[in-house]
Homo-oligomer: 403 residues x 2
């Protein structure tokens, strides 16, 4: 289980990082809405970005920064996505980087920019400029909580975590803040997640690790099957830990990789559990598939079914909707070889329902966390997808969240 | 526009057909739940069936009947889907056909069987047997309304229609009853639809016509992206109109095809408009695609987006969610070539939002019927998908519809 002891430290837990979050007046609510994360020591940078073809301006700008291989800062806002904003949007995203760079005395192409919020409106650049300047002034070793709160939208809380490992006798730290609540079916990453670490690592290895880990963590989350226009996961590694630089896939790499994967897994699960209107956190394990892609396809088919999701909201062990979604997943399953368990209790085998203890099942369904196991009986591959239920709250949030 | 003047006549509008619907005690509500449709004169039969790999027992039995090419009757029930019921389920579906055949003095392989309702429970065959016998006794030229009501589940009303055309100087009639409200993204046909006609037509041509028409009518509907285990569209053509038998794709075929397509289009639209909890009927037209498959993929991506559907429920002209769903559809679109209109009013062009008249847009959004036009600017192909919004009602119906 992931250790949460340094949670509030978040992105400033690793050495050499500071952060801040301020109110710039971009969110209608007046809450914190501009975040800056900074490392004076140059960091290797890795990133993964939305695969939605309608990518927002900050995604396009930040991809270029990641290509340079190094960065000093992240500047991000919530309340306005700066998506579908054309040339003006691109200029605004570039301007965010320029303003931050001028304040931080670095280059504009050292600054990752990110936005989340409503699509199709332009950033209020006067407010943004003042916000970035104020945030840079507030940068501190205590700023992660404010930075985390400045990037959330309909999230009920800011996802943050921090951990440490030992590499070659040196303590290496990792920290993160993340957000994501609706428009969530990453492919990559319909969310914002900023990870800092003081590890010293080759940037290509860092990118390779992040890309691989994203496939089995953030890309295995779905809230509502909507892949966003905006979102990204960024890792900044500034080397302040002073470990022998990781330049090959040695034992140190494996150790760092495991810590990064554990952190990404934890954040992915928290994003699913805090899905818009969610009352249940649902883990869907598919076993016995021919390959990972098939296993994921079946798991996503179940996780995205509105009928499955509303059944869990109603605490109804309606396995018929689950096997129905397995059947239309597009994977060539065999109904008679497929078996389904809810909370470890068999409910479907050999093509028919299984009698189960009603009281035990009631307890499973009443819990906040529910695990669904689907055995396909076809091969050895598996996949796990994390999702949530579909409640009145989702409809309320998205029927009332007006443009 | 489709003429509705003979609506209540439904499946008995064509000559030679009788129908009935009775209460057999299969629905918990005690409502009508067993339907029989009958033609003494042997009918050519065509059918299309769910492509869900977890197909229900009645689907497997009825496929065999369609392969024989002729049929005399349909027997259908609501309240229990007879899906995921194994060998017992198959025997029960066969028994439905046998009981009806004995009463109607035809062969069991002349009887189409269909079921809809909860997955995973066995049919109460004592009730079923009594119900079929009672329904056969009640068969009449006024029985379509009861038959229609006996096959609905969460539908708010029974979809029925009837029309006539003239072929070679003879009046040819078509009638239908249909149901479908949740678990609706036909591929084929997550619904039940029984169409009768007194046209005289070669059965292979009838099947060809139905298969083609299904692709652009029932398969273009989505309520909740869930493709059911059970559903089917059946056409019975008994030749009682006395037209010169249609044995080739001549002018008569074209005329009949057009009438059948018009009827299927109308029923498909009604099924979308009566989706579970629906407050809006939404027509999504995609234009300018490279091919039909791409156009359909984009339209379905938008129609299945919970964010798009909840926005329409909230009467919010949130085009950002629409272009987002276009962007992740998997079709290689160009954001700058794509244009979107709501109710004919441009909202997105050249990569950015378009200023529109707020009062005019408010009227569009307040209407029950809303049309979305999406121009991809890539080719000449188009597709139209029909769907509905996503409301509290959907969550209520599916969170509370317990197994």
């Amino acid at each position: 289980m992931f250790s949460d002891k340094h949670k509030s430290a978040g992105v400033v837990y690793p050495l050499g990082f500071t952060a801040a979050g301020v109110r710039a007046g971009i969110k209608k609510s007046g809450n914190l809405d501009v975040a800056v994360i900074y490392t004076e020591k140059e960091a290797a940078v890795a990133g993964v970005f939305t695969q939605n073809l309608v990518a927002a301006a900050p995604v396009r700008v930040s991809k270029v920064v990641v290509e340079t291989g190094t960065a000093h800062a992240v500047v991000a806002n919530a309340g306005c996505a700066n998506a579908c904003t054309g040339e003006q949007g691109l200029r605004d995203a570039e301007k965010m980087a320029e303003v931050a760079a001028a304040e931080l005395h670095c280059h504009a192409n050292d600054v990752i920019v990110a936005s989340t919020g409503i699509i199709g409106i332009n950033l209020p650049m006067d407010k943004m400029e003042a916000g970035i300047k104020a945030a840079v002034k507030e940068l501190s070793r205590e700023g992660s909580v404010n930075a985390g709160n400045a990037i959330i939208t309909t999230d009920t809380y800011s996802k943050a975590c921090a951990t440490e490992i030992e590499i070659g006798g040196r303590e290496v730290r990792l920290g993160a803040i993340a957000k994501g609540s609706g428009m969530i079916m990453p492919n990559m990453a319909t969310m914002l997640c900023f990870i800092t670490t003081d590890v010293d690592i080759d940037r290509k290895l860092l990118q390779e690790a992040l890309s691989e880990i994203t496939q089995v963590t953030f890309n295995m989350v779905t809230v509502d099957s909507d892949t966003s226009t905006n979102d990204m996961v960024i890792v900044l590694a500034n080397g302040a830990a002073g470990n022998a630089k990781i330049t090959e896939k040695n034992a140190d790499y494996v150790k760092f990789y495991a810590a990064l994967e554990e952190m990404c897994t934890e954040l992915a699960k928290r994003i699913a559990a805090d899905g818009e209107g969610a009352t249940k956190f649902i883990t869907i394990n598919v076993h016995g598939a021919h390959n990972f892609a098939d296993a994921k396809k079946v798991a996503m088919s179940v996780a995205n079914s509105p009928l499955v999701k509303t059944a869990f909201f109603g605490e109804d062990p309606n396995w018929g909707r689950t096997i129905c979604a397995v059947g239309y997943s597009g994977v060539n399953i065999h109904p008679d070889k497929t078996a389904i368990k809810f909370g470890g209790i068999p409910v479907y085998e050999n093509g028919v329902g299984v009698q189960y203890d009603a009281a035990a099942m009631k307890n499973i369904m009443a819990a906040k966390d529910i695990t669904v196991d689907i055995e396909l009986g076809l091969g050895a591959a598996e996949a796990t997808v994390w999702t949530c239920d579909f409640s009145y709250g989702y409809v309320k949030i998205n029927g009332e969240y007006h443009t």
